[in-house]
Every structure is written in C-alpha cells, then in structure tokens.
Amino acid sequence: MNQDSTIFALSSGSGRAGVAVVRVSGAEAGKVFALFGSTCPAPRKASLRRLFQPDGSVLDEVLALWLPGPGTATGEDMAELHLHGSPAIVSAVLAQLSQAEGFALAERGAFSYRAYRNRKLDLLQVEGLADVLEAETDNQRRLAMRQFLGDASHTYETWRADLVRALALMEAAIDFSEEDDVAVKATAEAQAVVRRLIAAFTDALSKAGRAAQVRRGLRVVLAGPPNAGKSSLLNWLVGRDTAIVSPVAGTTRDVVESSLVIAGTPILISDTAGLHQGTTDVIEQEGMRRTLRAVGEADILVWVEAVDGVSTEEPERKPDFRVLNKTDLAGAGSRPTGAEKVWPVSVRSGEGLDDFRAALEESIRVRNDLGEDAVVVRERHRRAVELALGHLHHARGEDGGGDGRGLEFIAEDMRKAAAALAGVTGRVDVEDLLGEIFSAFCIGK
C-alpha cells in the first residue's frame, strides 16, 4: 500500500440514492477543490461547489466538504465531494483525480487502515468494517475479478508472465553474472520484453480511453416501423418538443438525438427514421442506414410499433423494450404477439407511459450499479498501468533517465513497474523471479 500519497475512492455504494460520495484523504486532500477549478469551502461546512473539467466545461455541481485533520475519519486531512450519482460523473471525477500528482485510487481497506494507524477507528467501527469486508475472501475476489474482466484476465496473465520474464533476466544478470549460462544476451532479451510491454500498455491505455468515453453516458435508441410514434415518445420522455411530430409516415429522416438524465445517469436518447422494406427514396435509404447504425450502438434499444401500424422486420439486435403505441385507437389493427413482454402505451392519452418509464428507469439503474463497480476496477487498473508504463519508459531511458546507467537502476525501475501493477497482475515476488531464473538458466557452478 502506498502510504505517501493522498488516496481517494468512491465511498458510496450503488447510485440508487442519486448521490455518489467521493472521499479523499491525505496531505494533499485540500487541493482537491482547486484541481476541479473550484475553491475550498470553510472547514466542516457543507457548501455548494461547481466542478470543472480541464477544458473549462462544468463537470457537476456538488456538495463539497473540507475536513482538515486530525479530527477526521482517518485522522488525516479529508475532503468529500457529493456528486450526482451517475457513473459518467463518478468516472470523470475519479479519472481527473487519478491524473493529479500525489493522488492514488485507494485500495480496498486503505481508508480503514489509515484510520487505524492514526488511532481513529474505535472497536465497534473496526468490527463493523471487518463484517463489511467479510465477503472479501480471496477466492471471491478472484471470482469477481474474473467476472469483471473476462478476456482481460488473460491479457493480465500475459503481462505478468512478461514482467516476470523481464525482471528475472535482469536479476539473473546481476545475481548470477558469474555463471557462464547467463550470457550478456540476458539483458538484451529483457530489453526486448520491456519494449513489448511498453507497446502493450500503451495500446491498452488508448483503448481504455475510448472505453471510458463510451461509458460517459448510456445510449437509448427508439426504433421501429414508420409512423409508430417514436418521435412523440421521445418528446414525452424528454419533456419538450425535440423531434418534429406529424401524422405523416417518414417525418423523421435522420437520427434526432436528445440528452436527459434518468436515475442520475446522463442518457443520450435517439429518435430514428422508421424502418421498412422496399423504399427507393435515396434520402430515406440513407436515413434507414443511419437508424441501423444507431441501433447497433444502442445500450438500450426500444422497439416501437403502433397498434394500427405496419409491422416490419426487426433488426438483429434484440430490443430491450417493446412498446406498442396508440392503444387509444381501440380495436385498430392486429397486435404483435409473442412471448416477449410488451408495454402497451398511448402517448396521446398518456395511458401506460408511467409504467414504461418506471421500467426504463429501473433498467438504467441496474446498468448504473454494474457500471459503477466496473468504473472502480477499471480506473484503478488504468492508473496502475499508467504508473507502470512510466517506470518502464524510465527503465528504457526514454524520459531523460539517460543512457549508461547501471543494470541495477534499470532493475530498480522494473521492480517499481511490477509493484505498480501488483493490483492488476498480482504481486510479483522474488520467488517468482528465482523460479523463472532457475528454470531458464543452468545456475550453480
């Protein structure tokens, strides 16, 4: 555990309360407000503050607390930011903090450890914390990691193997330089592995950046045959006339996007051109092509048909919701049937709309909860990979570390890289290195 740095973490649980609390503890905690272009509130006074992104745009308006130590939970200076509980905002705040010098995302247990060290946890609290952490046995943690990471775990194992290999080669060149089997080429191979790791980390970080952008908000897409009432539904959801509504089929020619906040999550909601077969109109064809692209990118796809409308072939992407509009037109047309749950509504009369919105909201909340946990995992990993990459660049002498440095300096940088990645790849222990050395080289003159 890095005990020098100022630590931060999302301290609230799920986003259901609508508020997400980010806590910061450590010597630099007071700088948090300035980091977001804001000012430090008076001590222990809940104050409204606006947080800005580096480009000057507003990130969130929050309740901010400045709690100078030692009379705090951890005994250190602390700050709390009570954000709007959306994964996008939380993610952005954590990302911005993790970029700041001297700040590190807290590992689980880090706050309570500091509190303990500073004699701030009393008996009851420590016991309570232990209960909270009861589920945190290693196997469960590993299982959870695997679920979160999926394919990523394979990548991490590859990284780990490479790290062990590179470190083992360097250490062999130091500790077993007298062995004829440990030739000078050991360090050359180590450098090659380091180059490979640098490339892998750089690639992973650029992908992580793109993934984070996608996570900045959820995409809800309304799609279906023409004249089903998609634009009307959008306008009702957004609460203002965003889309042009008319009884003429094919009024919406392009994708119309609108943003709103549902369950504390920024939502980009898209109204799309109706899908139907057999058109020759070039503009309509282009509109449908764009609809299909939006459908492909949707996080939540709402398929809208009308009681009196035509049915059309559904896209491959299975809808998350099926809405049957215009139920006020009693007895009109045939209703689509099937095993799937259908939400009958009438945008004109308002019938069924509240039920549908509640269901949509719930669905967003569920994603929100999953997303928040994922944000923590990913943010910590991203920061770790960034740190490790920095050490590897230094080991390569690519940041002014300079040439002609001894092997022991390069090994030192690589040890630091492995330590930074411990939370991602698992701790690389000297025994791992010795195991690799003794299996790779015939040691023992």
């Binding site: 609508g18 607390l65 709690l67 959306s86 420590v126 290693d138 300096f409 040691i443 023992g444 003159k445």
Partner: protein, 641 residues
C-alpha cells in the same frame, strides 16, 4: 559435574563461532560446545567466502565486529570483487580461502575471546524444565547448565550421506550425526523438514595438467572483507577453469539411475541454484558443456575443489566422468562427492531474534533454520548469539530489519516465508538494494552495533576515523562548484542550463570519477581509496536515495505496529482459510510483517486489524469526519428525479 554458563552454543561451525563470539562480546559467560576444537572453523564444502549477496553479509557481520571478515582476510588466497563492472550496490567481495589458515584464524579468534570457554564433547540433548531450556547433556554423561542455548547443528541433525547406493549416517564425512536432538525438537512440537545439499569430489592437484587449463587470476591489489584490514598479506594464487564434455554427459546420462537423486532414495529438497551435475545434465540436456572451476583448498595443500560438479553418483561413475574433463585425464580423486540429507526446523517457529517461540531459552542459527552457506549461517549466528546474551540479561530482542541490511532481509524472509529449499542470499531479495551496499555496511550497522555493546574499542576508533574522513570529504566536495559553462570548458558533458553544480553533483554523472574531478580541484587528490569509493557510490545513488529513504520510513511505520501473540487467526471473520493457516503458522509480530505474508491483501489486513482491536478494547478516537459526511449525505437530499 555441573557448570553454570549464561549461554551455551552447540556447534563450532560458522554459525556457532559467530554466536559464541557475539554472546561473549556482550559479556555473557559463554561456552562453545564442539566435538573437537581442531574442527572449529572448518569449511565443509567449497573453500570460498563471499560472493553476490553473501559478500554483503560478510561485510555486515564485520560491521558488527563479527569474526568472518577478519578471518577470511587472514586466510584469503584469491580475492575477486564480483560484478566489478556494475554499480557498487551489486558488487560482492569474494575470496578463495586456505582451509587450514581459515581454521587457524577462526580458532585463534575464538581462543582469544574473553568470556568464552570451549568445551569439547558431543551434545546428547537439551535439559528442558517447565518448558524452558536450562542446559545441555553430553554423550559422556556430563551436563552443563545455562540460561540459554544456541543450537547450530549444521547438517548434523539426522545427517545421512548418500554416495550412489551407499548410505552413511553422518554430519560430515567421518563425523557422527546428532540423532537425539532432532527427536527432542520434534517432541517439543517444532515443525521440522528435511533438506538436501551436496558436495563434489576432492581432487589431487599434483595429478592435474594445469598447463592445459585457462587461468583465472584474482584482483590486484586484493580488496579485503573487513573494514579493519589494511592490506592482504597472504600470498595469492589463481583458480583454473575446465569444462564438461560430450563424453562426461554420456557417462552421467547412462548412469543416472544409480544416482540416489533419481532412484528415489533421497527425499530432501535440494537447492535449485546449486544443482548436482546429474541434475544439470538431466534438466538442461540441450547444454553441451558446463564450466567447472578448479579452486585450490590451500597454499601448501594440493587438494582441489572442482566447483560445479557436486554429485551423489557412485564412486566408480565419479571416477569415470571426472577423467573426461580437459586437464583431468589422469586425476586422482582424494575423496568422492556426496549428497547429504539433514533435518531442519521450520524457521517460522522463530522470532526475529531467532528465538524458538514456544521453547524459551532456545535459539537456532544456520542450516538448522533451512539456510545454506557459510555467510548465511554466520550472520544468523551473530544475531542468535547476541539475542541469547540479551535474553539472559533480561533485555528485549535486538532485531535488524529489511532496511538495516541483508541480515535483516534474511531473518525476515525466514521467519515470514519459511523455506522450500535451502535458503541462500541473493541481492534480488533486498528491496532496498541500492541503499544496502557492501561498501557502506559499517555506516549502516556499526552505530547500531555500538549501541548494543557488540562492537569493541578498536573497531569503534577505526569507524570514527573513517566516518570523519568521509564527512570531511563530503563537505569539501559540496564546497567546490562549477557553472555549466565552466564544467563544459573543463571537459565535462553537462547540460548548458546555466546551473552551478557542486563537485558532488558532478560526481553523480556516469563516467565522472574523483580522479577526473581532481584534475579540476587538485585538493581532491588527497582522498584515500575507501573514502573515494564511499563518495562515488553515494553520488551515483543520490537520486534514488531520497525516494528509498521515504519508502523505508513507511515500511518502518508498519513494522512498529505490533500484533499481540495471542491473536487467533482462526476466529477472524472474513479471512480466507488459506490466509488463516499461513498467518497462524507465521504469527507475524507486526502489521508490516503480516503485509509481507504471501497472499496478504489490504482487505485481509483490515480483518486482522479488527482482530487486534478486539483484543485491545480501548476506544481511541472518534470518527468525526465520517459521521459528518453521513449526515451531510442525508441532509443534502439531492436526487436527480
């Protein structure tokens, strides 16, 4: 007949000698119990001291006024600084030693140590009263009483030598093993294990064709181990290098089934870094040849130690394969190589002071703790002897931590991680490697040794003088400075940034030495060799030193948090079964040590902290910030929908 000693050290090997001397230096009335005084200081395996990591240990023992460095300086017949082409942090002094001179020097050091009595005899068992060790019984019926025992039995605990199909119970060739002690330790509830090591055949140097072999010379001038040795006066000799051939490999491969390592006869685990020649050939079949170093065992001794072909193959196979090595076609084998299995105690039974946790009055050092090597044994001996004497005087254990030196790294590794093979020191085990250098061992440890009463007046005076010279030189170098332009003019390639750099800062640049700087500032010419070495190393690592110092402070903070010994890990909710078992076995003394237990996570640590809090129920402090935060959350009442 009953004698009353403060401390009895059983065993006169490297661990035993240092233990006895350290205990006696503290003023404890100490006995060294050994079969025969004539074997004190024996080098049972290779005739060499030091090496990478090991050389660091020798310097640290010396910094604490131990014996090994001075004895090796008196006996050394070929000195080499390993990794000389690399930075000073990873250099390791090593020397071939004349075995006879080494014994003589060690025996003299023991004989002249005040408060130390040598008792010749074979230990039969420990006298244990009310769960305390209070003496030793001897095979001849004598019994010696004492307040503490340091057990340094080496490979003697149930030692069993293997040569091919032959099995000989022995501690060393020709010396009987110790049987009763091992049973007594197991009966006392100590977890035991079995390890294996090996040694090569010894050759008659008169029958070797030296003219056919590559010569390896030592350093000239040789650099001594001890900070007290001014110059090496013993004559210096060379080693020679030969190698295995295709024929060697064929003979060994054909007979591998006759090696007890492969026939299943040996159950002990051997070291991976010191494999037998049959292991090398079996596991690295693609390698066509292995180097073999022919090391002289003494100036007036023709015995040669062939380093690299330790084996337990039958004598006829040894005879055949050794003759296939270039230069050895007509060699006479003085005695065959062998493998030896021996019992050891799981070192997780020990405290950081090397005391057996559940048997007060008993301390263990050396191979009995699962280590290998003279240097590892000697360093433990010093720590065990020191703490046995302190325990007798009613003092707390003196502990060296991972930031103090390699001896601290080793003890912490042993008591925290246990061993799966004989433990040997490597520089890669030291996380603060750049700070723990062989050249600054005295600066790191001698002050601590003085505080403990381990260091005598002669070393104290020499140390003070050396430190004064280094301090003076540092001041001098901090007061000499050049602008970047002036430095360039003087031929030093520095960034032309207009900055002024001191001589010390310039010294940190690659390829800048004090000699080079003395061309600019002639008054630097007067600096002595060891002062130069110290300053050059300090300057080289200055950039990393600050960071490492901060890391060490943090590490020491964790190591100050004690964990009560009565903490029951099996009662702690939230810990995995695996960690419960590991923690119960290791019983970490501090939070820092708990963090180093294999598999430990911050979440698991919180569970441990909760357990500590339950044992010590004094509520210390309130969490004002936390409750303020919670109420603020409720009061804010800000929701989005």
């Amino acid at each position: 007949m009953t004698h009353r000693f403060d401390v009895i050290v059983i065993g006169g090997g490297h661990a035993g000698c240092e233990a006895a001397a350290a205990s006696a230096r503290l003023g404890a009335n100490t006995a060294l119990l050994t079969h025969r005084f004539a074997t004190v200081g024996e080098m049972s395996c290779n005739p060499a001291i030091g090496g990478l990591g090991k050389g660091h240990l020798v310097r640290e023992i010396d910094a604490l006024d131990g014996l090994m460095g001075r004895v090796a300086d008196a006996a050394g017949i070929q000195f080499r600084m390993l990794n000389r082409s690399k930075g000073p942090a990873v250099r390791g002094p090593r020397a071939q030693a004349d075995r006879k001179l080494y014994r003589a020097a060690m025996q003299e050091a023991v004989a002249t140590q005040s408060s130390l009595t040598v008792v010749e005899g074979a230990a039969h068992g420990l006298v244990i009263n009310n769960g305390r060790v209070e003496g030793v019984t001897l095979e001849d019926g004598r019994s010696l009483s004492c307040a503490a025992v340091v057990l340094t039995t080496g490979t003697f605990l149930n030692g069993l030598i293997h040569i091919g199909e032959k099995k000989i119970p022995a501690g060393r060739v020709g010396e009987a093993p110790a049987r009763g002690l091992s049973e007594q330790l197991a009966a006392a509830g100590l977890a035991m294990g079995r390890l294996k090591t090996g040694t090569p055949a010894r050759l008659d140097g008169k029958t070797i064709r030296w003219d056919l072999l590559e010569e390896q010379r030592g350093d000239d001038p040789p650099e001594p181990f001890s900070f007290l040795t001014r110059a090496i006066t013993t004559p210096q000799v060379s080693c020679h290098i030969t190698c295995t051939t295709a024929e060697t490999h064929r003979i060994i491969a054909d007979n591998i089934g006759r090696s007890p390592l492969y026939s299943g006869q040996i159950s002990g685990v051997g070291p991976r870094y010191c494999p037998s020649i049959e292991d090398k050939i079996h596991r690295f079949a693609e390698k066509e040849s292995h180097q073999v170093f022919l090391e002289p065992e003494g100036l007036d001794d023709d015995t040669v130690y062939p380093n690299g072909i330790s084996t337990s193959l039958p004598e006829d196979v040894q005879d055949a394969f050794i003759r296939t090595l270039p230069g050895l076609a007509a060699v006479r084998i003085i005695r065959p190589g062998y493998a030896i299995e021996y019992d050891h105690v799981d070192p997780r039974e020990l405290t950081h002071g090397l005391a057996v946790r559940h048997l007060p009055g008993l301390f263990l050092a050396g191979q009995i703790n699962g280590t290998t090597g003279y240097e590892e044994a000697a360093a433990q001996g010093l720590i065990a002897g020191l703490n046995a004497a302190r325990a007798v005087a009613g003092l707390d254990a003196a502990v060296f931590d991972r930031a103090d030196g390699y001896l601290g790294v080793m003890v912490d590794d042993l008591v925290t991680r246990g061993v799966t093979e004989p433990y040997r020191m490597f520089t890669s085990r030291a996380e603060y490697r750049l700070s723990l250098r062989a050249d600054n061992a005295d600066e790191r440890l001698t002050p601590k040794g003085l505080g403990l009463g381990l260091v005598g007046p002669a070393r104290e005076a020499a140390f003070s003088a050396r430190m004064a010279a280094i301090t003076e030189a540092r001041t001098l170098m901090a007061s000499r400075a050049l602008t970047s332009a002036a430095a360039l003019k003087a031929g030093l390639k520095v960034n032309q940034d207009g900055q002024t750099r001191t001589a010390f800062q310039l010294l940190s640049m690659p390829e800048v030495t004090i000699d080079r700087l003395a061309e600019i500032w002639p008054d630097l010419r007067g600096l002595s060799g060891d002062v130069r070495t110290a300053l050059e190393a300090d300057a080289l690592y200055a950039g990393y030193a600050d960071r490492q110092r901060r890391e060490i402070e943090r590490f020491r903070e964790d190591d100050r948090e004690a964990i009560p010994d009565e903490l029951d890990y099996h009662s702690l909710p939230g810990l995995s079964m695996e960690l419960r078992q590991k923690l119960s076995r290791v019983r970490p003394a501090t939070v820092g040590q708990a963090l180093r237990v294999d598999g430990m996570t911050p979440a698991a640590l919180t569970c441990v902290l909760a357990g500590i809090a339950r044992l010590a129920p004094q509520s210390a402090g309130q969490s004002a910030g936390q409750s303020a935060g919670q109420s603020a959350t409720r009061n804010a009442g800000r929701t989005s929908w």
